[in-house]
Amino acid sequence: MPTFTPPVRDMAFVIEEIGALDRISTLPGYEEATPDLVSAVLEEAGRFGAGVLAPLNPVGDREGCVLEGDKVRLPTGFADAYRRFVEVGWNAVPFDPDFGGQGLPWLVATAVQEIWHAANMSFGLIPMLTQGAVELLSAHGTADQKALYLEQLVSGAWTGTMNLTEPGAGSDVGALRTRAVRDGDHYRITGQKIFITAGEHDAAENIIHLVLARLPDAPAGAKGISLFVVPKFLVNPDGSLGKRNDVSCIKLEHKMGIHGSPTCVMAFGEDEGAIGTLVGRENQGLALMFTMMNNARLAVGLQGVAIAERAAQKAIAYARERVQGIGPGRDAPGPIIHHPDVRRTLMTQRALVEAGRALTYFTASRLDIARHAADKAERAAAHALADLLIPVVKSWGTANGVQVADMAVQVFGGMGFVEETGVAQHLRDARIAPIYEGTNGIQALDLIGRKLIRDQGEAMGGLLAEIRRTEADLAESGGEGLERLRLELAAASTLCAETVAWV
């Protein structure tokens, strides 16, 4: 039976030792984030993830989503699970208490989200997309937009979507052609968006679409894109739901994985045009999108870590049980975990998961500092470091996700290739993560072209200095056991510095 044991102790360890929880809890608003609270939250999240979400994971994979007319039905149990998720308050964890959020640091929210993604990656995408909508409206929404949408998005009563991609505009989002025209005090949106996660579903009463579109007089390319809020149901000033807006799901994609997540083709304005309101200024759309991109990319890197953790757990369980052959130094057939090749595979999984988790949580903690530290220089340095690390978190985390899930299939042998054991699902699910939210190729361009070159490698220099400090610590307190680690780290950081200089 597929089981999931949320690695709560490992997460708490990383939060405290790598995320520097003691520093984060001194930031204004985060005073309640003590180790005890964090452990309690993680335990509770673990219970929900393991008890409610994980059992639905194979269900989602088997059933997929169904489009009936313009309505999408999520797999059995998903809509109910989501309502429970919202009732208990899980959607609100990282958000502003002023709008009903629980106000926990991103460092902690990231760990909680790791549990969702590991338990059920398809499910985890719903709150993940809503998070983007919350961030955009919190930072850039008008007072009206915040009043109409924010509380419901924070609680999760309504969900959010990101509508950027079109058939001719993926990595090159500037090529998009969805149109917006001014119409009195709002806009009319017309066009088609593809690959829209949770564009339509039956888990919530309203869906708030964030849509990139081009005004008639806008410049060509990326500089002529505006951002609009297009609700599925218009919302009256008293908060009640009004008319159904002119936006609908016209197709669901049949994908390789994350079958429990409805990947929609959204048609805007097949009738009189979907009503939308502007976020920020006209032609500012892409810049606004970038403000939430850090967290979105971090979240996807986290998915890679999460799916790797889940797949690795399956591999370990199998390797402990499956008896084949006599391992070295043993005298009878035993579990394959005794074979060095299997052992090496399991250790590689473990090392990649632990390292990926540490890097991801560390980066999340820098985002907390970047937003809330009192000292401007400290905020700037944390922001620069987070900016530098995010393309690495996204691309390394997701590449590892695929690699570790692939290794898990291998550990299972022939039964790994048989869907019944459930491990193949993780590889199929993992495969999207290196692609979406900016392909790993795009992340590489971002790392070199934007993050390294623009500040002349200053943030990178800061990071290397930190690594040198760790090397010094290893020299001082590492002892013989960690001497090899110190040497390899020193060699690697030197190579890194040289390579950066070459670039």
């Binding site: 090392a351 632990e354 610590d473 590492g478």
Partner: protein
């Protein structure tokens, strides 16, 4: 990984007792040093080899 190993060591010293959870952090960090970090030198060589041979085959040659 190094920071986690050092933290684990510190906690083991503070507790002055065994804890397989903490020892495992150190063991895994040592594995990382032996089996994962050395990839860096290969990757660095690949990066600094530059883009010439990457782009040299003309489009029609594919």
């Amino acid at each position: 990984m190094a920071r986690m190993a050092l933290a684990a060591q510190r906690r083991l010293t503070e507790a002055a007792s065994d804890d397989p959870f903490l020892t495992a952090k150190i063991t895994t960090a040592r594995f990382y040093a032996d089996q994962i970090l050395p990839r860096t030198s290969g990757l660095a060589a690949i990066v600094t080899a530059g883009a010439d041979s990457v782009m040299a085959l003309p489009v029609d040659g594919f």
